[in-house]
């Protein structure tokens, strides 16, 4: 800590500043703790393990179908958005050749990706509803939800992949070339492998975003809490946890409220798992990489 001036106004301001910053921090921590404990305290008294094994039936029941539905949605996003996002990030980091003018190429594509990440989620939901659910007559369906969620999340994955790839030291790539590795082989075995933790972190965060979305899903996956899970890609609505929170807290039965809180609890646990894993991966790679503190 810097030494405080002995007297007067400067000392007062210096202390005030320090107190102010800690106050600001507590103004964030406080409500977060309040929120999480609020959800937990409402959910836990009425939670029983049967909630995980029974599907929703009408106004009460369990959350089994919603949990499976959420996981199914996340799986599709992982495959579709993960695949496309990683490849897109790969292009932006490795293959976008600098133009003759010296400026970096891929500017249009990167800007498009940025614009997409700022696109309001409900408007994407609207587009999905109008074009896929109604226009292509898929009705509320898994495929429509997968497509819209992936569109939302691809910019994040592309950006984190690009960042991760750019952090791979040039020495690695030069070494691979010096050893005579073919370009694609070097890409796979050296560059991607080194960037993998960063890429995986990006994927986990994207999954956390996807499982917490509600608005676009209401209009692509449907608004049915007690829909059974089906693997058919179209013509079958998908149940998911966030709708249970949104739709059930307004229902009159107390049993419905308990389900809403339980769904909130499971969501918190899910997001926690994803983000903690992401953070652990980052910590481990910093631990083992060069320049370790």
């Amino acid at each position: 800590m810097s030494a405080l001036p002995g007297t007067g106004r400067r000392r007062f301001i210096a202390i005030g500043f320090r107190v102010g910053t800690y106050l600001a921090l507590s103004l964030i921590m406080g409500p977060v703790i309040w929120l999480v404990t609020g959800i937990i305290s409402r959910a836990v008294p009425h939670f029983s393990w049967s909630v995980l094994t029974h599907p929703t039936a009408g106004e009460s029941g369990g959350l089994e179908n919603a949990i499976i539905g959420t996981l199914l949605l996340m799986l599709g996003v992982l495959v579709i958005a993960g695949g496309i996002g990683i490849l897109a990030g790969l292009h932006l980091a490795e293959f976008a050749k600098p133009r003759k003018s010296g400026k970096e190429s891929g500017h249009l594509l990167r800007t498009a990706s940025d614009v997409l990440s700022g696109f309001p989620s409900i408007v994407l939901g609207y587009v999905g509803y109008v074009a896929l659910v109604l226009g292509l007559h898929w009705n509320f369906s898994l495929l429509a939800a997968w497509i819209i969620l992936s569109i939302m999340v691809i910019p994040y994955i592309a950006k984190s992949t690009e960042t991760a790839l750019r952090q791979v030291p040039t020495a690695y790539r030069e070494g691979a070339e010096a050893l005579g590795m073919p370009a694609g082989y070097a890409l796979r075995k050296v560059t991607l492998k080194t960037a993998l933790p960063g890429i995986v972190t990006g994927l986990l965060i994207a999954l956390a975003i996807a499982c917490g979305e509600t608005a676009p899903l209401i209009y692509t996956a449907g608004a049915f809490a007690d829909s059974p899970v089906s693997v058919s890609l179209t013509h079958h609505p998908v149940p998911y946890l966030t709708f249970l929170v949104y739709g059930f807290y307004t229902l009159p039965e107390n049993a419905s409220h308990y389900l809403a809180y339980d769904a909130g609890l499971i969501l918190v646990v899910l997001v926690l798992l994803l983000l903690v894993s992401a953070r652990l991966i980052v910590n481990r790679t910093q631990h083992y990489s060069e320049g370790r503190r």
Binding site: L25, I28, A131, A158, Y185, E213, L272, R279
Partner: protein, 350 residues
């Protein structure tokens, strides 16, 4: 026999060798296709929006942006009007004025509350805190970014709103000095839904993004001027004020605008806490109102009761306005941040 085996092995290896040589091209080709997809998706979304919104834009005109109305019209009338060739129910009239005002008001309140808190917290996390404290706390703030927005809405309507409405708001409303300008802070607080509760919930939601960006910016400030300031006996506050903040000023503006963009696009939490009105501006700071995003999410599924399709078209127009505002704000933010980061070419950093 041996010759056949050798021949087969050689041709197999030739195949894998050539595949391995081609692999680079495969990756490159796949990557090239993948990177175009976001652009394609964007073009697709905007095209659909514009096509769907066109009838509404033609009929609603420029007054749409200032009028405040959400009248589906007489769906139960037997005739239908035709305005400029577009089928419109009798009496249908729409205006997004109140929704645009509500969106901007609630986001502005969120930003005003969130920015000082985020900057203060970023200072607390980066300066002078032992690592074993700042790392978990920093992670905590990141965790906040992952909490689903429904849960924010749920907390707002079940816990925060009622608490504030019973304890805090009446105190404020009753003790505000009797100056006309402050009339905005006077009013009945209902049971918690309203402008300021929404602003508070939104503020909490955008704090992580502003804090994270600010922390990154702080880490880019070169150590030399800061340590020099300390050597001269400046306090933390003076270093912050005279070295750090000027250095990251543009970046913080960018971070603020980024948070603003997030608040503008927020849908579910606002729908739950704002009262979801469609055509009224909040009369005072505790009043209920509506935003563009909340209007779309609550009205889309029943808009199809309008058999002419005009209501769905108007919602597309709302979506278009929201997208333009949101994307515009987002692009502005990134422009500002990228400019400031490049300016941060450090002196004296290895």
């Amino acid at each position: 026999m041996m010759a056949q085996v050798m021949r087969r092995a050689r041709s197999a290896r030739r195949i894998t060798d050539s595949l391995r040589l081609r692999e680079g091209a495969l990756w490159q080709g796949a990557a090239r296709i993948a990177v175009v997809l976001p652009l394609a998706a964007l073009v697709f979304a905007v095209t659909i929006l514009v096509i769907k919104a066109r009838p509404a834009i033609i009929v609603n005109g420029w007054g749409f942006l200032t009028r405040s109305k959400f009248d589906l019209g007489q769906s139960y009338a037997t005739t239908v009007n035709h305005i400029h060739g577009v089928a419109v129910p009798v009496g249908a009239s729409y205006g997004a004025g109140a929704l645009i005002a509500g969106t901007l008001e609630s986001s502005a309140i969120a930003v005003i509350i969130a920015v000082p808190i985020s900057i203060g917290a970023a200072f607390a996390l980066t300066e002078r805190m032992p690592r074993w404290v700042s790392q978990p706390l920093g992670f905590f703030v990141e965790l906040l970014a992952g909490v689903p927005s429904v849960l924010f809405g749920l907390w707002g309507i079940l816990t925060l709103g009622p608490f504030l409405a019973t304890h805090i708001y009446p105190t404020i409303a009753n003790n505000v000095p009797n100056v006309p300008v402050l009339d905005f802070f006077r009013g009945s607080s209902g049971h918690g839904e309203g402008l300021i509760t929404t602003g508070l919930v939104l503020a909490l939601m955008i704090v992580p993004i502003i804090t994270a960006t600010t922390r990154d910016l702080f880490s880019q400030v070169p150590a030399l001027p800061k340590e020099g300031g300390e050597a001269l006996g400046m306090t933390d506050w003076e270093v912050a004020r005279r070295v750090t903040l000027p250095w990251v000023r543009t970046g913080i503006i960018g971070a603020t605008v980024l948070g603003l963009g997030r608040a503008i696009g927020e849908t579910i939490a606002v729908a739950m806490v704002s009262g979801s009105l469609l055509a009224s501006v909040a009369p005072n700071v505790y009043g209920t109102f509506g935003t563009l995003a909340a209007a779309i999410v609550t009205q889309l599924d029943s808009a199809s009761t309008d058999g002419t399709g005009f209501a769905v078209s108007t919602l597309a127009e709302l979506g278009l306005i929201l997208a333009i505002i949101s994307v515009g704000v987002n692009l502005l933010a990134r422009l500002v941040i990228s400019r400031s980061s490049r300016l941060g070419a450090p002196v004296g950093r290895a």
